[in-house]
Amino acid sequence: MRAIRITALAAATAAAFLLGACSSTPEDEQAPAGVESRDAGAGKPGAGTSGVGRPPVASVDLTDKQKDRMSMLKDPNSILSKRSVYFEFDKYDIKDEFKPVVEAHAKYLRDNPGAKMLIQGNADDRGGREYNVGLGQRRSDSVKKMLILLGAKEPQIESVSLGEEKPVCGEQSEGCWSKNRRGDMLYGGEY
């Protein structure tokens, strides 16, 4: 017990430190740009001068693309920001209304072979917890299967189940249960 507590504490402290480190150096607080870039400009390629002889170097910035991609996944105007597929009671087929969402994510996974996805399947809380883990697994497997049919690669996707353990709605009503019968698509970095 003690060992675990200490480890957890250490992890929490490390996390707090990292968070602190990030927040203490926001971009607008860096050293004045003018000083840093005074000499660098002279050596930059493609400034319009000719004959000085250094071959050009084109810049590829993956961090920007990553940002673009992540913002695309989070942009409320993009269908990719929609991550949930809802299921009928005791069912695991994907209803027509959710097919465009799954298709969009399949395209995204196709276009970004390095992207990884975790699909968490969920069940409402009626019945046995372990059988509900099984039902949630069926739902996440169902989403995974459709993504693969649409061109995503199997190693990109892990489908798991949270059973009835992570409800988004806690009441005993069909309105609530239907919100909990769900598959959620999460990308690497989001879980």
Partner: protein, 428 residues
Amino acid sequence: MQRLLAGRFAVLVLTLFLSVPLARAQLSIEITGAGAQRIPIAIVPFAGEAALPPGITSIVRADLERSGLFRGLELPPLNPHPTEASSLDYAEWRARLADAVVLGSIATRPDGRFEVRFRLHDAVKQTPLGGVAYTMAKGQVRATAHRIADYVYEKLTGEKGVFSTRIAYVVKRGKRFELQIADSDGAEPETALASFEPIISPVWSPDGRRLAYVSFESKKPVVYVHSLQDGKRHVAANFRGSNSAPAWSPDGTRLAVTLSREGGSQIFVMNPDGSGLRRLTSSAAIDTEPRFSPDGQWLYFTSDRGGSPQVYRMRASGGEPQRVTFEGSYNVSPRLSPDGKSLAYITRNGGKFQVALLDLTNRQVQILTDSDRDESPSFAPNGRMILLATVIGGRGVLSAVSSDGRVKQRLTATAGDVREPAWGPYIQ
């Protein structure tokens, strides 16, 4: 059930003397049904027990009454106060309507520990049945009381007592989940694991030293094996996909688990360290909740291969499953009784989820509970009681019912939801 209990429905609330910090979930026990014939027993306060609150005999009496098989008699002050050394006037105890009498004393030893001596008498046959002396430290009053209750219980009923055993369960309070271990009466809970993610399906290793369970701490179900004594835990199954529903083989050398690594939910067996993995079921269905029979020969499990979840069994080495439950359209969570002769499971009965008991010899099914959201039945090691989780007033509570359906108890925590009980083995 109502018919069975009619006329002898008794409600007794025993507030347990829990001198534990408030942060712990205290379980208090309410007995809501008792056996038809309860043995009237006089448990005379032990000489010297006042120095060790809450009083050893009050715990012995609460244990015996909770079984539903005993009724503790109210006693007037006795002068002179009898002890285990006293010669007993049996006629006097028969006049007080006692069938059995427990007498004892507690003395301080030179080393600061205590010596507890007691003797049990059969007042009907007018004969002593035996006695024991225990040496205990100050903090062992409860443990000693449970042992005395086990002794009395076994002498008078002929079956082994389970008061010294422990139970495991999960408490959810706000966003916090705690896997707790408590005495069989819910007293003195200790937290084995605290987490902000769910913990389900704890199961005791046969030696009572380890628990296997499912934790969602890595955003998916992973099976862990956790040593209670030192808190060391290791991942037993963390394959791609979901890992759940662990079950120990009776010899403690193998774990059956449900894995989705090859698609769907299928049953595998492996060593407790995750090695030696072998797939046992091969279906397009959900196959889950494996449980070994006490002789280790069979695996009972839940499967919806026939269209609805039902209990099946197969050889522990694999092979063609046979269907076990036939009544109803939803039968899950199979648990074999310790003698292997009956099967407890959860059945959906007119929209209610209740504990059913199937006699594997004559195929009779009896519904044991009248609650409506029962889960996770768990036999006491002597097979007499079944612990279960249910929901009362929107809150998760533990409850227990005797395997004949007559005795009922409810264990309520002061705060939070209690679920996923598992009754531990006999203390070795």
